[in-house]
Amino acid sequence: MARPRMHKARILVVFAIAVMVLPAITDALAADDATIKVGMRYDISTLNMLEMKLGSDIPAILLMNQGLIVPHPETGERIGLLAKTFQVLENGKKIKVEMYQGARFHTGDPVTAHDVKFTYAECANPKNSNMMAGALDEIEEIEIVDDYTLIFHFWEAYAPWEELMWIGICSKKYYEKVGPDKFRSHPVGSGSLRFVERRIGEYVLLEVADGYPLYSPKGYPGESYSFKYLKIMTIPDDMTRLAMLETGELDLVGEILPHQLKRLNGNKHVKIKKSDQVPSLIGIACLPNTDPLMMDRNLGLAIRHAINRQEIVDKIFLGEGYPLYLYATKAELGHDPSIAYAYDPQRAREFLAKSSYKKGMPLTFTYTSMVPNAPLVAALIQKYLQQVGITVKLQQLEEGTAATYTRNRDKRLGHMRLYQWPGSRDPNLRLWLSVLSTSDYATATNRPRKAEMDALILAQTREMDKAKRAELIRQIHEIMEYDAIGTRLFGLNMIYGMSDRVDYTWTPKEPYYPHLQRIQLLK
């Protein structure tokens, strides 16, 4: 009577073990030596180029889709990819593009001007909420001349037009056949890698597309693939990602912070490379909306001279960066290494004495965890400013809250704010969004030379001549330097590590894992 009951229990135990072990078995996949694994922090939100949302979506999408132009892998300069030639017509109002013939989608269909037009129209369509939609408003119309020739009509001359030409071209025929849902789950492009599988939140597996060799236009060194699969894995935790690089579970990890290098340097299977050619800068925004005092030029100058930028870079970022004074990194148009202000607390005190800042008045300095090592940077800046007599109150804000405050010009954002501009290689967008006085995000809407500044920003957008445009940008910087509302602090190096079985070099000036297909599997 008692014993039969125990059999029931035993059956339960066997069942339990089965339930526990089975998922593991079904998940089992053999490890593959021909697969290169890249670790990324953020999850990919979509593989559909037409509704691309985040910077983290770009690497995978651009491996599967080719744009009209591409950065040169060694110099970062823009060169044609699907486009054989570009012609700037009517002083920049029209761009005529002649495409290479012979490029094909993974479905086998040729890439034509119709696909280009379709792709640009869908990216600009508000229903797709594509991150490029706003910028694409500059285009009035795309005119198809023939299957391989088209003309972009701009409303007005648009100097940074190249920044609109990297969009990966999607197959109109395929999209119209399968619809948006299927296109999202099984994207098809003309890129050198082809979509194989996506496990949401886990990885995207891409395969070298046979018959789609690395496209090799003029000036672009041709090469061959040494691997078969590329797996882009989402590993959100920094520590985990680096641990996986150490054990060889990942082949490539970017965005390594300097203090994390110490661990990796001891590992002879991990190779570290660095690049200072990334368009990412960290600075302090002064916010006159909270207190008009922040418009005070002398206070601004005092802040500039009070901060020891080199020390921040050395102490907190172990030298992996460079002091930055201008609103343009080393990777961007308009960078001028000759502009710098000395770290001079005495001068800072003199400027402060001339300013309307009253001693002891606390200025709120806010920061979010978006900026690497933000609490340390903020504390150091507080120390510098207090050394010259500016009382600073630190306050950390949650990222979403800070973003909302910024947009609403909320006073809770404080007097000063630590920010990071994640990077784009042309200064145009940055100027339009954060400097132009009519922008929602502008921090100084009432600078004394507002009209002059806005005119300059507008002019550089419409100036097709590169040299003339550079001069306009220089003048903008000049006003910004004179007004001294806010300051830049430093640019950081891109530090990336790889396992000893691969080799990869960052393409200069690019922010998001450019040219991942160029990873070489070493024998």
């Binding site: 008692a2 009951r5 125990m6 229990a9 339990a16 073990i17 339930v19 526990m20 998922p23 593991a24 078995i25 998940d27 089992a28 996949l29 490890a31 953020y42 999850d43 979509t46 509704e51 949302k53 508000p126 229903k127 909420s129 991150m131 490029m132 939609a133 706003g134 910028a135 408003d137 999202r184 496990r199 939140g201 886990e202 990885y203 894995m233 989402t234 590993i235 959100p236 935790d237 520590m239 985990t240 641990a243 996986m244 054990t247 579970e249 990222e399 979403g400 809250t401 973003a403 909302t404 405050y405 910024t406 947009r407 609403n408 994640p422 784009s424 967008l429 969004l433 922008s439 929602d440």
Partner: protein, 307 residues
């Protein structure tokens, strides 16, 4: 008993509804605006307006709530801002991963916890008992993110025994399962130990021994069955919440593509519909697990079954 269960189901539905309402308002009354968070730095004011309109965020809160309820009644829990897909679909895409890990952790912690608890109670102050108490103390006090990091550094980087993250093989389950199980193991060990000690001291156990029942059956049939009742309450009642709670941390550290990580990422992206459906789903799971506890209770304890 049917009436009792029917009552419980009604209460459960009300609970879920209340949670839904609270969640809806709490997220929307917070300082952060999803549009501001979602916009890329390159976005223009027009983009912002489009987004706001697209998600219906331009309407008054009470109308948004009305629409929300109307849609929920149709089984539509909103569209994920981030993934452009139904929030429910996004959640269920990620749920199997959490379920698999949760089940693994469930069986590990229940079997380890019960074994340790029973062995400790049968031989108090033995080495197993001391080990069990140490483990219980550690499991109760060590935060799971720290345990996770230590596991990775020790078994992953130093010993290279186990893969660190990903889901390729059974070995991939070991570390996250261990990390997730530690607290429940501690809880179940402590609970089953004290519960077993009480049962072993009881007269019915003495009576069973008097009848000459072998010790194994005394422990498993007489003592354990009685000791299991309070343990089961904890195992089922708390497990859902416990699992989901630790899933957030464990899935993040071990890069497990489950709903714990999803909700963390969605929260930071202010992807309200996903966070919302997550909270509703967790409420649903916890409430139904409690319902199951009552039924299992009745199955084990005839005093309830025969009422």
């Amino acid at each position: 008993m049917q009436g009792y269960i029917a009552k419980r189901i009604l209460i459960a539905i009300f609970t879920i509804f209340a949670v839904m309402t609270v969640v809806f308002f709490v997220f929307r009354l917070g300082p952060a605006d999803p549009v501001a968070v979602m916009l890329s730095p390159n976005a223009t004011p027009q983009d912002a307006e489009n987004l706001t309109k697209k998600f219906g965020l331009d309407k008054p809160l009470i109308i948004q709530y009305g629409n929300f309820l109307k849609n929920v009644s149709k089984g539509d829990f909103g569209t994920s801002f981030r993934f452009n897909e139904p929030a429910l679909k996004v959640l269920f895409e990620r749920f199997p991963a959490t379920l698999k890990l949760g089940l693994a952790a469930f069986f590990v912690s229940v079997s380890m916890g019960l074994c340790l608890g029973i062995l400790s109670a049968v031989k108090p102050d033995s080495i197993i008992d001391r080990l069990g108490r140490l483990l219980a103390l550690a499991g109760m006090s060590l935060p799971s993110f720290w345990v996770g990091v230590m596991l990775i550094l020790f078994f992953g980087v130093t010993l290279r025994w186990l893969p660190i993250a990903g889901r390729g093989t059974a070995m991939h389950y070991v570390m996250p399962t261990l990390c997730m199980s530690l607290y429940p193991i501690a809880l179940i060990t402590r609970l089953s130990r004290s519960s077993m000690l009480d049962a072993l001291k009881s007269d019915y156990v003495t009576m069973a021994r008097i009848k000459g029942v072998p010790e194994f059956y005394v422990i498993m049939l007489h003592a354990f069955k009685n000791a299991a009742i309070p343990v089961i309450t904890v195992i089922f009642g708390l497990f859902g919440a416990l699992m989901v709670g630790s899933a957030v941390v464990v899935e993040y550290i071990f890069s497990w593509p489950g709903i714990g990580r999803l909700v963390m990422e969605s929260y930071f992206a202010r992807d309200y519909p996903v966070v919302q459906i997550f909270v509703i789903f967790v409420t649903f799971v916890v409430v139904s697990l409690n319902l199951i506890v009552d039924i299992v209770y009745a199955y084990i304890d005839p005093r309830i079954r025969y009422q």
